[in-house]
């Protein structure tokens, strides 16, 4: 799966979980840019991402992403080649 496909799926997850349809993520998007993405919904998003991609993040990874680009890299590293 390439980065664009992951981004597309993330976009779907974010809109579903945060119950909106106006989120448009890009690699540089941070939590500050997305209305409703806070420490409460972050965990919910992480769980949804793990389910969709059938992966498991470590606690350290979950706390390390600074933007969507870093999240995509992390997902990519976990997906089977």
């Amino acid at each position: 799966m390439d980065g664009n496909e992951i981004l597309k799926q993330l976009n779907e997850i974010f809109n579903e979980e945060l119950d909106t349809d106006d989120i448009k993520l890009n690699n540089r998007t941070t939590a500050n840019d997305v209305d409703g993405w806070d420490s409460l919904s972050h965990i919910q998003l992480v769980v949804a991402i793990e389910k969709r991609f059938k992966i498991r993040f470590t606690a350290k990874e979950i706390q390390s992403w600074n933007n969507i680009g870093e999240l995509i890299d992390c997902i990519n590293n976990k997906l089977p080649v």
Partner: protein, 483 residues
């Protein structure tokens, strides 16, 4: 040494003048020396405890950062964390734990063994906690966690590390600064910049205004009514509770403005603590704007690890993590059930808001934005005011008395000296006006940063004149010093 005293003003003037006169390589030493001097004004022997915290945290940080063996790293990490928490618990909670244990033993003896004898708590300690101990240990713990997580390197220079924990503007009541924000600033050469001095002094002036003109004026009414609830009518109690919200905000944000301002004069940007919380439209948003340095500390080092560890529970992980975090946050204020209820009330409403956020969003779409905001702000303010009844009361029964009388006690408004109410309302109105202006009309006009030199300075003079003429100079310490 309180920020609003003449002694502190003189102390700060001397510190700032010599700070800029000294070459860069000696400045940290001067800041450290002034921090030590500041600390010695409280209780000199307690400096030994802070020195112990500094040494153990600094050494453990180095060991965690250097060691290749994760087992050894963990050992140092745990030892240092336990030492920090141990000191905090000893000074803040020994009496709570021993008294609770003795009460429990007496209860069992009475109920099970029908004994009429009771034992007394002979382990009660009568000590005042070292100045700023909560804030110092929290900053030390945050520093250790960041190194353990591999996010930041350990500080090699013991002197610089000591300066971080003993930086005098934030010793007494925060902000709970992060080492990785502060230490690089300490190392950077800072030329004398007019802008830093001007921004810092302006923030100090506004902080002084909030403390002396608003908070300490409101304190007069609040302290006359709330501790004597049984003698006051419901309407007086409502006024006192509303006043208390503003008192708390003006007091604590006033302190924070001064702390941040003093740091700014010396060229340091420390974390902000408040972002107009009384205009938050939900309690969730409120906690992102109130005591930010502590709430983000709890979010980063307490809430998030719990929520991550329990994330397989789904939504309940958020409930569990929110409740645990806020109960601990309440308990942090002191070992009283009133603080635990205060924390529990925050955890409760955050959970409700989390579960109803989609429904609330749908409702919001049908209501005009202005009305939406007004409803949100009113609800958040009222809920926070209600929870502060527990925060302010000495015992749960006192809080229940206040709540009961608010609904049942008829009678006139307590007004021994009407000027106190008038000045209080003027202070609240002015504060609200400034906050609303900064939140919604920030680009419209400005007195504080007006381009016209005369208008700007007239405004500063006006604030200063109001402070000198209407300020309350015997109002005492800041509320958050005790925590």
């Amino acid at each position: 040494m309180i920020f609003t005293s003449i002694f502190f003003a003189l102390f700060f003037l001397i510190v700032a003048v010599f700070y800029y006169a000294l070459p860069h390589k000696f400045r940290w030493l001067w800041i450290l020396a002034s921090g030590i001097f500041f600390y010695l004004q409280s209780k000199p022997t307690y400096l030994l405890i802070v020195t112990f915290i500094i040494l153990i945290t600094w050494y453990a940080g180095l060991q965690i950062g250097n060691t290749t063996s994760s087992k050894k790293g963990w050992r140092f990490y745990f030892l240092a964390i336990i030492a920090n928490i141990g000191i905090l618990v000893f000074f803040k909670y020994t009496n709570f734990f021993t008294s609770s244990a003795v009460d429990f033993i007496n209860f069992i003896r009475q109920k099970i063994f029908s004994s009429t004898e009771t034992i007394t708590n002979s382990l009660l300690i009568n000590v005042i906690a070292p100045l700023g101990i909560s804030y110092i240990t929290f900053q030390a713990i945050g520093y250790l966690i960041e190194i353990k997580r591999g996010n930041h390197a350990a500080e090699k220079n013991l002197g610089h590390f000591a300066t971080f924990l003993l930086f005098f503007p934030k010793i007494t009541a925060g902000p709970v600064e992060r080492a990785h924000n502060f230490l690089p600033q300490l190392k950077k050469v800072k030329p004398f910049e007019y802008n830093n001095i001007s921004c810092g002094l302006k923030q100090i002036l506004w902080g002084l205004f909030k403390k002396l003109v608003i908070a300490d004026r409101l304190f007069i009414y609040v302290s006359a009514v709330l501790p004597n609830a049984e003698h006051h009518s419901g309407i007086s109690l409502i006024i006192a509770v509303v006043f208390y919200v503003f008192q708390m905000y003006a007091d604590f944000s006033g302190y924070s403005d001064m702390a941040i301002g003093f740091a700014k004069v010396l060229g340091f940007d420390v974390m902000s603590n408040f972002n107009r919380p009384l205009l938050a439209k939900s309690v969730t948003e409120f906690w992102r704007k109130w005591h930010i340095s502590l709430s983000t500390w709890f979010a980063d080092y307490f809430y998030t690890p719990i929520a991550i560890a329990k994330r397989d529970w789904g939504m309940w992980s958020v409930v569990y993590a929110s409740f645990t975090t806020f109960i601990v946050l309440g308990f942090w204020h002191g070992a009283y059930w009133t603080f635990i209820v205060f924390g529990g009330l925050q955890g409760f409403i955050l959970t409700i808001e989390f579960f109803t956020r989609k429904a609330r969003k749908n409702i919001r779409k049908k209501i005009p934005a202005f009305l939406n905001g007004l409803i949100g702000i009113t609800f958040t303010f009222s809920y926070f005011a209600f929870s502060l009844i527990f925060f302010r009361a000495n015992y749960l029964t006192d809080a229940f008395t206040i709540i009961k009388r608010i609904f049942t006690a008829n009678g006139p408004i307590y007004m021994e000296n009407p000027s106190i109410i008038v000045f209080s309302l003027l202070g609240i109105s002015f504060l609200t006006l400034v906050e609303v202006k900064r939140e919604y009309f920030n680009n419209l006009f400005t007195l504080y940063d007006n381009k016209n030199w005369l208008i700007r300075n007239c405004y500063y003079c006006l604030l200063l004149i109001i402070i000198l003429t209407a300020g309350v100079f015997d109002g005492g310490e800041f509320i958050y010093f005790q925590f």
